[in-house]
Symmetry: D3
Subunit: 288 residues, 6 copies
């Protein structure tokens, strides 16, 4: 069960109203690399987790991400607060309020007109948050790798936001949030390697030799060798004929059909057959 205290995990002091900056901050509120995605990623994993240690870890970090959602959402609310009252009360002329939605090229009109200055679960382009941002599949060695990657991505998006932010209070709070992603990434790394073995993931072994084969499908200038396709790590297949098909078969897709199915598909094929010999007049000629 959750509890809440009205104090934030990190204080938020905003120097001046800036809806354009608020809009950018939405990337980490309702964007794909943002805090709701993080919180829900770990929380949903936790609920089905069988290992007590990982369950505790996932709940700890999920809960903290909810607190981060609160911090970044409070930044959005504070950056919009001045403009919010002016639009709601119409204390300015229409032309001035119209400019405030686009001023200096900012892109805050969705937040202001649709959401009244409140933080919404969209990214800075207005895309609705959706659960496709969460890639958990209920297998711990996969989900921990996904979590490691997600923390790394969130760290970088915070870094970019810091790079474009001038307001010192906002910058500091963003720096704190960015830092916590580093700590979380480390925890997830430890938890992944506390499972042994963890590579390859799952139970079913690969089909040799394809688990150590590298297929050079993109050729021409720029072909490069490195540890990722080196002979010491991989069988390097570059002759295109060897790909067609790698089972040594004919590379065709075939299906067995019952007589009734065969008859039905033949009727369909016949009815919609193309006549390649003719050069029919078409809509294109009619339209030229």
């Amino acid at each position: 069960m959750f509890a809440h205290n009205k104090r934030l995990q990190y204080s938020v002091h905003v120097a001046e109203c800036n809806p354009g900056l608020a809009n950018l901050m939405l990337e980490q509120f309702g964007g794909p690399q943002g805090e709701l995605a993080a919180a829900m990623r770990y929380f949903t994993q936790a609920l089905a987790e069988e290992d007590p240690g990982r369950k505790d870890l996932l709940l700890d970090i999920a809960t903290e991400e909810l607190s981060h959602l609160e911090v970044i959402g409070s930044i959005v609310a504070m950056l919009n607060r001045g403009a919010k009252g002016q639009l709601a009360e119409a204390t300015e002329e229409a032309a001035e309020l119209y400019r405030s939605l686009h001023g200096a090229g900012n892109d805050s009109h969705v937040t202001q007109v649709l959401f009244g200055g409140g933080p919404a679960l969209i990214n800075s382009g207005g895309q609705l948050w959706n659960a496709g941002y969460i890639d958990s599949i209920g297998e711990p060695t996969c989900d921990l790798r996904s979590n490691i990657a997600a923390e790394a991505r969130a760290k970088i998006v915070y870094e970019r936001l810091i790079n474009v932010t001038d307001d010192p209070g906002v910058k500091e709070a963003l720096h704190f949030l960015m830092t916590r992603e580093i700590a979380h990434q480390l925890s997830f790394e430890k938890a992944l390697y506390a499972i042994e073995p963890n590579f390859p993931p799952g139970k079913l072994p690969g089909m040799a030799p394809f688990d150590r084969t590298y297929v050079n499908t993109s050729q021409g200038d720029g072909d490069t060798r490195g540890s990722w396709n080196s002979d010491e790590n991989f069988t390097y297949v570059t002759d295109r004929k060897e790909h067609l098909a790698m089972d040594g078969g004919d590379g065709l897709a075939v299906s067995s059909l019952t007589p009734e199915e065969t008859e039905a598909i033949a009727a369909f094929a016949d009815r919609t057959a193309s006549n390649p010999k003719d050069n029919p007049e078409t809509g294109a000629e009619l339209g030229e």
Copy 2:
């Protein structure tokens, strides 16, 4: 530039028409862990990649994933082929065709009625593929971690599909596809560690000591210690007062406003103020 050969990377031999199984296969065609997501993940990364070796790697694997999309899509088409003709030509009674959409509890009606038995970019539940499944952000140490995790997830979904598949030809092709994820994961691991350093990602350092602090936000029975929150790796903070706020400040969110903004927001607050003292009659009482 791409080229194509009509032979598949792996031959597909389907033993009998099975639209229910075809529907499950859509997970790896148009699902979040499927081959389109994989191909587009690596392809879009490749286009903006500055490092020639990684660009080649990403193009090699992106191209192979397109060939895998073709293999799994061909499996779907072959599993549906018998039913497709029967529905299109109405060679059976309506009641029989209706049953074929749901028979044995299968869930193939979307594929059959809407898509005519063709492979569609949906998952097995009918959810449209969307680009939110791709989490690339244009930073190589993050994107490689995302790719490692994605390959791990795809391996497991193939494993699950293999576990529920009886058709030997389908099983074999799935096994090949599953195996290639292992090889790709290894390549991406090698490419990640060919960048030094790669942790923490990006350029901006964390704010000490929060990059090595673990916050025990979920407490009560089940609290567990492990390497992911051990004292040797982290400062372990469990007293809730220390979280409020971790900057040592008041934990409030505040914003500086101009006088005009102050006046406007005060007018808004006043106009919409709640009166907590009264116990007003409400719609609920009216409705009881």
Copy 3:
């Protein structure tokens, strides 16, 4: 800031593994009327709320809804737990595992194959949760009405789930969750009527007489009068000519254009003009 205790707000005792029932429960986990939508609805409102009493109320209920998300998610996890191990470990034959995904017509294949039995933020049909389910707009008298309606809807979806659930432990927990929606609805009703006046919402008055006019646009058998369109409450307009246009004008849409714009649009109109006099041969005739 949030804290968490590993005990649930309500104990969950599941009598037997039932992935089909688990799938239905997803309606209140990741569905439009579910607990994530509720929690995020109130939480995002709270962050921008100016009134201290409402802010406290919104945070109290948002936090409780997160705990409900945990309860319903735990129900999903427990109902899937038996099947999860069997699929992951392949302890059954493929044909048997295939049947378990569809047995008795259940629709659990997405949860099992894609999510490994974990609770996912989808509804029972597999539709990804999206933030369009949240209708908050940052105006308290609107948002409270939205909240009242949302609690009413959630109450009913729980009622339907209870009606189809046989497992006594699940039924009891659902009953608790359903009951809390009643209490929350009442709180929101009280908070709405603590704002005076609250109807019509906002600041701008309507344009008389259209704020008390009822337009009888659907006519014919079935036309009914009631308090919602009675003469004591409304001017009832039934003559269709009076709707065209209600401003008394010509009902046209016109725009003033600069000479350059006029010339450009005329060129466009001319280039794409239709010739109604002719009876051209078309693709349809070609194709017959």
Copy 4:
């Protein structure tokens, strides 16, 4: 059945081409609080309605909302009309046309480049309209509450658009549309209270005493009492131990498993168990 007359319900006179303003108007065309959502909300409810009076009401208002969709869409078309011809005919230099897509910070490039200046079912940020905006559930006391809330929200979004609009003809038409939401809200209120009782919604009673309990989950500075959580209306529970669990049980989630299920889940848990004692080397150390 529907019929149509080419005159609008309210005349639209646009003073000058303004694609930036047109883009904002899309909020009420293809946005969540817009006229398509309204029309479809009432229309889908009407089709399944059992009560003749409500069916008539829903059809009357659904039909009128379609006419409002036509008015707001005509505003969009007229505001874009000048720019449309210029882009289609390329009557200006590229640099000038490029500027027209972004001039004065407007955000009209999607409308112009993708939709050719026509009204599209997107909001002002380009988000595609989706049916998740409609929250009807087929229970009249819920749906009427949802309708009341929806009309209130639409009223406010119109108010905000009016506040930022300088064009007198557009302003007047918006004022009419805003006004109609007030009238519709009143009709839906009357229809709700014509059902007795309507609170709590549905048939199943709550589980006492939880239907009149208020749980103070958010604590600390800012805790407030009001009619929404007063002792006269609620049992106020503030001691966190009383929430864990409110059934008086252990607050755990447990499931009964068959022996086969138990064995399978144990095998899964064992295979993926974490080893908390070790401090394994991880990818993070490798990458530092």
Copy 5:
């Protein structure tokens, strides 16, 4: 402006309650080829249409499609009506009601549990309708081609539904709706060819000879010649070297950068460079 009459365009007589069949019918209510998509496709085109004849045509057919939406929605409502009351009133045991959601493998649980038996704007798989289904771009020769294609598709989906429907009243109404698509397709064909010329669409001519070149990118067994790539219609390019690049250039993507940009991108490239010579230890080896 729209008006409505409560009689349908075609009478609907449903022989027995069948939620599974109702669910299939949703394809033409809230599916991509359904009546809402059709109505909105033509309606949004009409609002921006410059040609009076086409505007009238688009409004005529848009309005009729709304009436078709009403017919198919009424079929859904009638097919669900029996089950709706039983679930709402819980007149059956839970086990029986549970079975009714999945009976005979039907997939009606979303409609019944979430939507209470009402027609919802989803397809038969539960996918929410979204405006991406509408492909209008505001150019008449394109939009008419899109409309022709849309009518053809809708005709076929109705044909498939007819093929699986046993209920004579439903079958007849579907037949009527299917037939109207034929008539509409013909009207749109006539309207397209009333614009002269209409091919190629738009104003800008192609770059010879690429407007009559066919590139044989897919080679190997199965290469076929027909009128679509015949020598009389196209220059047939099959040598892959001729595709790289077709401008006769180097086929590279290059950009001019300022000195500051050059320096910045070099710093980025350097910081994230890969070292292909080494064979680093990776997370994969750690995890094996």
Copy 6:
């Protein structure tokens, strides 16, 4: 199987960094009329195609569209390349970087902050690509018509992009891409008319006389006659009474119910009946 060569189908030379222009180009990368939609449209059709000639055609064009995706994506990457390094390395002050995200009203912040300057599968407004953009249904005469329309639309969006582009290298590459749509459209026209007959599509004949009836549903000023509704092609029905209902029946929707169903629905109707006679006090009066 696919293969790749690192040279592009058309060389891309970008004159200067321009993230605003890059953002517009996304329409043809991840937008509804863009190259991914085209490639996937033809590729998925090909996999289920029964006719060898059409299968070859679809694979040829699908493969070429992937190469076009590469060209347009490379344009995006090159236009962003200068800005990418500056944001990643923070070589400019925050205020300057902030301006670069919005400068000259461009809308590139999503690409820069979220995607690090890489091409993403979104349109220029940030809308995620989704598979609802693909309208294939597995019937060749429909799918070819859809393809013809899709090529026409893509041609026009390229034309608009050309009209707003000043950079000569970008303009030339766009011109090439635009031209290829013309060639593809012609191929699909030939393939459509190689099927005889192809109108009406499918197997089931229409229900006379409704396949040649035109219903004049939109009346009033602006009614127009043309070949699309002429007497020589259609029976023109303008009297509204003839539409109600066209089967000559009562225009009602009725369903047969079992006695149990009748009783249940009656109980539901009774419980939620409205009382039209009363004028109840409502929430609106309480709130005024």
